[in-house]
Point group: C2
DNA sequence: GCATATTTGTCCGTATGTATA
DNA sequence: CTATACATACGGACAAATATG
């Protein structure tokens, strides 16, 4: 009845050593560290959406108590990476098409709002520029996972222009959800690569001080991305 | 060494009876019900910002186990109503002026964005209209707590126009934080009452289909409100 | 600075209600 | 209907950190 999660996590993680440092460098709680490990596994696609994470298997693999594990589950549930089904356990979130559309609605609201709220140029675009460069490097190195990360950092940089910690946190959660969506794309290169040039275009427009045009480009960017993902979803449904 | 929290909560709550129904109508978890009680106490100003909620005192007063109580603390911490200091316990959040400004930055981003994103009239303004009416009734009845609630519902209705569950949830959290801020206002009537007429004005403008003017009014509304609260904060600091 | 007491962090074992097979 | 598996909640225990004298 095991779903294999226990073995997989046992291979890939060394929380035993992490837990060992607890007494030494216990800056964060063990629950948070457990959540960090699980969050990474989920982001990597190690635990595909729909996977059930039973308390027993994960507890045994990571060597932490139920209470601690439940704390970690609670953290990830609030990040929307896990869903809690009543008396059935926790599962890796399966993002629906409705979720996808809502994610892009929020992204349009916040990202475009951040650009629109810009005052007089020049704008603090260092983080955005560094993300664009990181994306271009990753593409050359054919490191598609890194490309995906850079792409997300680009949009985090856009939101950061609003200078609002709460908006940053919201977007961190929404973009973490989006990582789950990316796993349905079988070819990450074909999905992410086209946006490299658009990222740079938006960056240059903003560097020139044209926030209005930047917002327009961003909005059409997001709509294209949304449609592409929605199409991939539709295909996946028709296959299964 | 008690801060009085135990006695105060013991007077006002009857979680024992709530916990009694657990087996019968346990639709929600005990931790959530505990969180509900504490959330109300905080919103009422029963636990002023900065109050430390020791595990022992609250546990004794509510008659729940430590694990359950910690779960409730965790829920409220994620709502930003409590802050968790490692090895020191949980405290009722003290909202700083920076927080206040950030809250209004997010509000402007999301609320104005929701209005801007409206398509062709007519708009689904039922919730907004009902909140305006509720506010006017509360003002006539001199129920200032209700007036505050109605005011918050007005803005939730505005955000709901975006039709995004995630935006709704974000705003629910932000407005809950704002309730903490309201406690610094010594006279709720003088603070809330002037916005009654502005709420209705915005409603009517939106009913007429003029989303552009509605957004403009909303932005100036938010800025005025922010300045008023920031002033009250400055006074409070100079007093202490 | 030191020793003590209190409080929190973590983990365990168990009992009960519930959903699924 | 029974049996299994699980979530929920409780209480106890010890270690670690903090506060106090």
């Amino acid at each position: 009845m095991t779903n294999g999660a226990d073995r997989r996590i046992a291979e890939a993680s060394s929380l035993a050593e992490l837990a060992g440092d607890r007494a030494l460098l216990g800056r964060t709680s063990t629950a948070e560290r457990v959540a960090d490990v699980l969050r990474d596994r989920i982001a990597e696609g190690f635990f595909p959406p729909g996977t059930r994470l039973s308390e027993d298997s994960v507890k045994g693999a990571l060597g932490v108590s139920r209470n601690t594990l439940r704390e970690a589950f609670r953290l990830l549930t609030h990040e929307r990476l896990l869903v809690h089904k009543l008396n059935r356990g926790v599962f890796v979130r399966v993002v629906t098409v409705d979720d996808l559309n809502d994610i892009y609605r929020v992204r349009a609201l916040v990202e475009c709002g951040a650009v629109r709220g810009l005052g007089k140029p020049p704008y603090p675009l260092e983080a955005v520029e560094s993300a664009v460069l990181a994306g271009e490097c990753a593409a050359q190195a054919r490191a598609w996972q890194d490309l995906s990360t850079a792409n997300i950092r680009f949009h985090q940089g856009i939101v950061a222009l609003a200078g609002s910690p709460r908006a940053d946190e919201l977007m961190r959660g929404v973009l973490a959800e989006l990582r789950l969506v990316f796993h349905v794309m079988d070819d990450p290169r074909r999905f992410h690569a086209p946006y490299l040039v658009r990222n740079r275009h938006i960056l240059e427009v903003l560097q020139s001080g044209d926030a209005f045009e930047g917002e327009r480009l961003l909005a059409s960017y997001l709509e294209d991305s949304r449609l592409q993902l929605a199409d991939a979803y539709a295909q996946r449904v028709s296959e299964s």
